[in-house]
Amino acid sequence: MDKILSLKNLKKYYPILGGVFRREVNTVKALDGIDLDIYRGECLGVVGESGCGKTTTGKAIIRLHNPTSGHVYYYGKGSNSEEPVDIAITKKFALKRLGIRGKLQMVFQDPTTSLNPRMLVKHIIAEPIKSQERMGSRELEDRVIVLLKMVGLTRDHLLRYPHEFSGGQRQRIAVARAIATDPEFIVLDEPTSALDVSVQSQILNLLKSLQQTLNLTFMFVTHHLLVVKYISNRVAVMYLGKIVELAETAVLFSRPVHPYTYALLSAIPIPEVEHKLSRIVLSGDVPSPVNPPEGCRFHTRCPFVIDNCLKEEPLLEAVKAGHQAACHRKHEMEKLIAENFGQTGFLP
């Protein structure tokens, strides 16, 4: 498969300032070494609890913030250089000159806050196009109408303000803005969590059809696992700034290897009455990312801790082809889960 992005040991530390001189006293380790390959045309789901670094990863790829260290390689299709571009260290104006800015886009969580209330829909959608290429105003308007049609709105909506729309329609406008510059890769940061169930399915279906027609690559950041199951091909599970498991969706749901993944999956309330399963209820909370625990980060809540977990940090290694997990006991975990909870997966 054809890679589009490759993250190498990506780190993002946010400083905590303290003392009289506002010196850096500690850091919040939001991302602590992420290695991830994203392939062209796939939809990669990123799941985890709040504060585990899902959104930070997405923002680092778009370069909405500067990562502390590490690399984000972008393999452009038909770009003038064959060499991958390192988004993490390239200057911002160089990113724009190379035309990468337009190729990587983002849809934010809450459409009420991500759309400027003072701008007309026309201007909201035209703004990214204007900053990327020169276009006459009539041409621009035609393009905006085409985009609106693609997301299921009409030209009547052109001269309205965001507050005149419902939540679902606003999110459609946000999607239209993201696909305005003909991108290859879109980070979808919880695009449906602010929406109602009936509208959520509209947006999910829209995104799915857009992905096929425009040949897009998605990174779908969410905490809702059933949504991930519906839309993505591969899933990365994050815990406290690290990826703990990475697998194809069907594999992850049927045979999770990391105990955290199992706990996360078993914690979903399922909208089916017949479906009763044994559940790991994790005790306690996610530890603070300021001082993550030594060794394996999950050991404070893990039901299968061994001595090695407290000392050595497990690496993200392959269990099978295309299935990686960061756990010392990954090879015996399936058996352990089956013994303790009577089942191994969640798919029939």
């Binding site: 009936s198 509208v199 905490h223 914690a267 909208p271 996610v286």
Partner: protein, 382 residues
């Protein structure tokens, strides 16, 4: 089963600048003793307004226009229903947080950031259980193992004895105004704190004595929600209303809280009225479910019946719109949007989005009727 709470044709309107928002249109529901009733619907369909009307805490510019809210607090005496809408505000105050209590959606907003956890939890004891606590302190003081200096003991016995007879006595109120004398309440506050520690410990929070001294910002989201639950459970309510108690929490924390509610239901609380937009939570925790749409209750049934054999077109569409574990097929979505409640559609409020809409749906509102046993639906199809 015996009824605990019944609302009859509850109507609540909000008088805004844009017009009258008809938030509730004749909602009638019944919660039984010992059951968990789930109320589901999309945002803005009137779930929260329903329970706020039940508790009579509808905010301005809202007004409860009609209907009845009847509670049967005593399980044995069936006819002794009390219509809450006719009671005085003082009576409601004594009921809220005591017999009926509520967990609010956002723990950050529900807790006061300037008061310690202990103050906030013990507040409900100080409000509702003063008399019992005075009696308890008086008995402790009279007990032979009580080691207080003799004259002080006599004075305290006198004061607390008086207080346990009448906690609202005028002389006590005067004492509260006098700088030195107001310290007489120290024992009461200590007792309330002790009870607060007890209840927090029961909810599975490690080292409660320490948590009591902390402030809300010291705690994580799940812990804060537990504290809010502790406040609600402080006086052993008959009915606990949980308004989106878990929707802002992570799934693993949500699982903890739901587990906690299930455990509490077994031994402490009698009934829970659970409001949520998550059908998964409903499927797991509730016995009976009511589905709301645009200010109407459109279907009420037992959980298994509702998920297995939904009648109302909206319920069916809603169940098909959520992603599931076992089914892998295209999600169906409900076309259109939730109507504006200032000018709700005439007749059935769902008809503009309904695939089975008929002529009669556009004209008159369908009444709730029992199609099968214990399965009520408001639709002309049945």
């Amino acid at each position: 089963m015996a009824k605990l709470l019944e609302t009859v044709d509850l109507v609540t309107n909000f008088y805004t600048y844009e017009g009258v928002v008809k938030a509730l249109n004749k909602v009638s529901l019944v919660v039984d003793h010992g059951s968990t009733f789930g109320l589901v619907g999309e945002s803005g369909c009137g779930k929260s307004v329903t329970v706020r009307s039940i508790m009579r805490i509808v905010q301005e510019p809202g007004r409860i226009e009609g209907g009845k809210v009847i509670v049967y607090l005593d399980e044995s005496d069936r006819r002794a229903g009390i219509d809450l809408l006719e009671q005085s505000e003082a009576y409601m105050e004594s009921l809220r947080g005591d017999r009926i209590s509520m967990i609010f959606q956002e723990p950050n907003a529900a807790l006061n950031p300037t008061l310690s956890i202990g103050d906030q939890v013990s507040e409900s004891f100080l409000f509702h259980q003063k008399k019992e606590m005075f009696t308890k302190i008086y008995e402790d003081l009279c007990a032979p193992e009580c080691q207080v200096l003799y004259p002080l003991k006599k004075i305290q016995q006198a004061v607390y004895g008086m207080a346990s007879n009448n906690p609202h006595a005028v002389s006590l109120k005067i004492m509260n105004k006098v700088p030195i004398l107001k310290h007489w309440q120290k024992r009461l506050k200590r007792e309330a704190k002790k009870r607060a520690i007890d209840i927090i410990y029961k909810l599975g929070i490690p080292n409660p004595a320490q948590v009591i001294e902390q402030y809300p910002h010291n705690l994580s989201g799940g812990m804060k929600q537990r504290i809010v639950i502790a406040i609600a459970l402080a006086c052993n309510p008959v009915l606990l209303i949980a308004d989106e108690a878990t929707s802002n929490l992570d799934v693993t924390i949500q699982a903890q809280i739901l587990e906690l509610l299930r455990r509490l239901k077994e031994d402490v609380i009698s009934s829970i009225l659970l409001i949520t937009h998550d059908l998964g939570v409903v499927a797991e925790t509730c016995d009976r479910v009511g589905v709301m749409y645009a200010g109407n209750l459109c279907e009420v049934a037992d959980v298994r019946e509702l998920f297995g054999n939904p009648f109302h077109p909206y319920t069916r569409a809603l169940l098909e719109a959520v992603p599931k574990f076992s089914v892998i097929k295209e999600l169906k979505s409900i076309e259109g949007n939730v109507p504006n409640l200032v000018t709700p559609p005439p007749g059935c409020r769902f008809h503009p989005r309904c695939p089975h809409a008929m002529g009669i749906c556009r004209e008159t509102f369908p009444e709730m009727k029992e199609v099968e046993k214990e399965h009520m639906v408001a639709c002309y199809l049945y």
